[in-house]
Symmetry: C2
């Protein structure tokens, strides 16, 4: 089945630079961009060559999207909610408090018109948006003291950003913006009382359990997190169709890879953390209820003034009620039974 070579001009040389918002030490998230570059390079025998740079190598991590908008680089790998300071709408391409879980987000993005709606907005910023990775639901973070009721949030200094910070503020939390590497000393010195980061695998490396052992869940502000590529719209428009398709395919593949990698690594890390003294705790129900209510207030405020946000938010949240109707009938009942068996020590792998 091997025949004549294909027409050469269909596979031109394209060299791009992709700046990541993440350091190499966050190997799973950072690896999302490397995965895309690898898939694209291998499939074209190097003709489409994307060089990935870690945060700070050529562009500071939180300026990645700006560097793409301005054409300094063709592409970045980032989390769109980093740019929520420009406008809340940016966050919708990553995740918003009490939003969708990973499966729901994939369904909405790929089949519910999510990608197109988001691109309507991001295109106005000179960017083409491609989902590229997912962490799954994140943890609620590390606390130096137990949170026994919503009153315990009052006055708490917490490293938490964006819309989640705005929600927490309504309950008396003082949100702090602190880079990853500065969180541990801030917790140790008591400059802050709590900090959210990602999940067990990434959190373990930074050692938070030693200074703030109460490890709360769920991270209701990140029921999933979409990592994404932004491509400069002009670079995107100039890209040959064969590479547009390949890049989209590669980004889909990198999405499932990253989620699988986190789902494989997080359980082991959680077990190690518990052995080292981390104390997992569910948020009290009144905290969940109060933060949910506060989120709805934040959304009402934004929607009243920001039609770009409201258009996308209404579509996403319209699907949310649908997805939970289905999930509770199907996978959730299966998982519930299996978790009971897991707690009984009755699963085959526990014998």
């Amino acid at each position: 089945t091997l025949a004549a070579p294909a027409i050469a001009q269909s596979a031109p040389q394209v060299r791009w630079r992709c700046t990541s918002s993440f350091p190499k030490s966050l190997d799973t998230i950072y690896g999302g961009a490397e995965d895309v570059a690898k898939y694209v390079r291998e499939a074209t025998d190097g003709a489409f060559d994307i060089q990935v740079y870690a945060a700070g190598e050529i562009v500071p991590g939180l300026q990645a999207a700006d560097a793409v908008s301005s054409g300094t680089v063709e592409m970045c790998h980032t989390a769109a909610y980093y740019y929520v300071g420009k406008s809340p709408t940016w966050a919708l391409g990553a995740v918003v408090p009490f939003g969708l879980n990973a499966r729901g987000m994939f369904a909405w993005l790929y089949y519910g018109g999510g990608i197109d709606l988001l691109n309507e907005f991001y295109n106005t910023q000179g960017l083409h948006y491609l989902p590229t990775g997912n962490t799954g639901a994140q943890m609620g973070g590390w606390f130096s003291k137990e949170i026994n009721s919503v009153a315990d949030l009052n006055g708490l200094k917490m490293r938490i950003a964006g819309l989640a910070g705005r929600v927490m503020e309504k309950l008396g939390v003082v949100p702090q913006q602190i880079a990853g590497g500065d969180i541990y000393p801030a917790l140790e010195r008591g400059t802050i009382d709590a900090a959210e980061w990602i999940g067990p695998y990434d959190d373990e490396k930074l050692g938070f359990y030693q200074v703030a052992p109460y490890y709360y869940y769920p991270g209701w502000w990140e029921g999933n997190l979409v990592l994404n590529s932004f491509v400069n719209t002009e670079s995107w428009n100039q890209l040959p169709d064969i590479y547009k398709s390949l890049l989209e395919t590669a980004c889909r593949a990198a999405t499932i890879e990253m989620l699988a990698e986190y789902d494989f690594k997080n359980p082991q890390a959680l077990q190690r953390l518990v052995q080292q003294g981390a104390q997992p705790r569910p948020f009290p129900q009144d905290v969940m209820q109060a933060t949910f209510a506060a989120s709805q207030e934040v959304y009402a405020e934004i929607n009243a003034n920001d039609p770009a946000f409201k258009k996308i938010y209404d579509s996403m949240m319209g699907f949310q009620a649908q997805t939970y109707l289905w999930q509770q009938v199907s996978e959730y009942t299966f998982d519930t039974f299996m978790m009971i068996k897991q707690r009984e020590g009755a699963l085959a792998g526990q014998k």
Copy 2:
């Protein structure tokens, strides 16, 4: 950033035929193979050209893997458990009763060594295995009468196949093998009392709710279902490296696409089914307990005699306990809260 054309000999013409085990009417599952063919064709400007044939067009649906083993076609798209009659090990590349859910399966396949272990076995059959699609957790099927306890299973004639049939047999069920198109008349005539198929979107088309309205869940025998490609090992070995990589990337992308499509379509279909008279019912807890216990008996019987099965089963089930430890701390608590809100009608999309 456009430069010289790439070297032509790196992108040779390859034409393959891919026979699907599915009819075009199962558009979402059948579409998995079409997605792969499209991604590969677009990325190579047609140089790597996979023609997809529906079940029966060139090969009967349930002989797809045989046609690939023998080299009649280079590739098929199928569900590996269709071939469980050859040996139970075949089922492990699709799903087994009380096995992993979709997220767990992805983690085990892509990071837990699952794909390599499965290929050790499938290679002995002349096949190279590539996961290509997932349905998510399936429903437990349609029953003409309510199942109120495990005693109600005794003597029940049910369309259910493979290992699940063997489990059900231990509880007095008489398993029946019936093709999709023959299920409705069999239920209508009372030749069978129950039938499992897939989930709301696919089940709706066959109209089962009209003759067997009790729609049970969860389908504990399919906590997820991996669809897969098999490639003839010789064709795989001859495939240029650039196409090997591209095909793997395309299959990963098709996996997330199919799951997203089902997750988008199933909620709407479930709502329509309920409006038309379908009555969703959870399996009673004693049915779940008895079928779980019966599954463990079946596994003990197989493992005692089949080291190929045991090797893969031990790896998969070893990860199962891990994945449920993590999922219940993270996403499950988030989902639980959101489902309470969904039942209260308090989600933004329900206002």
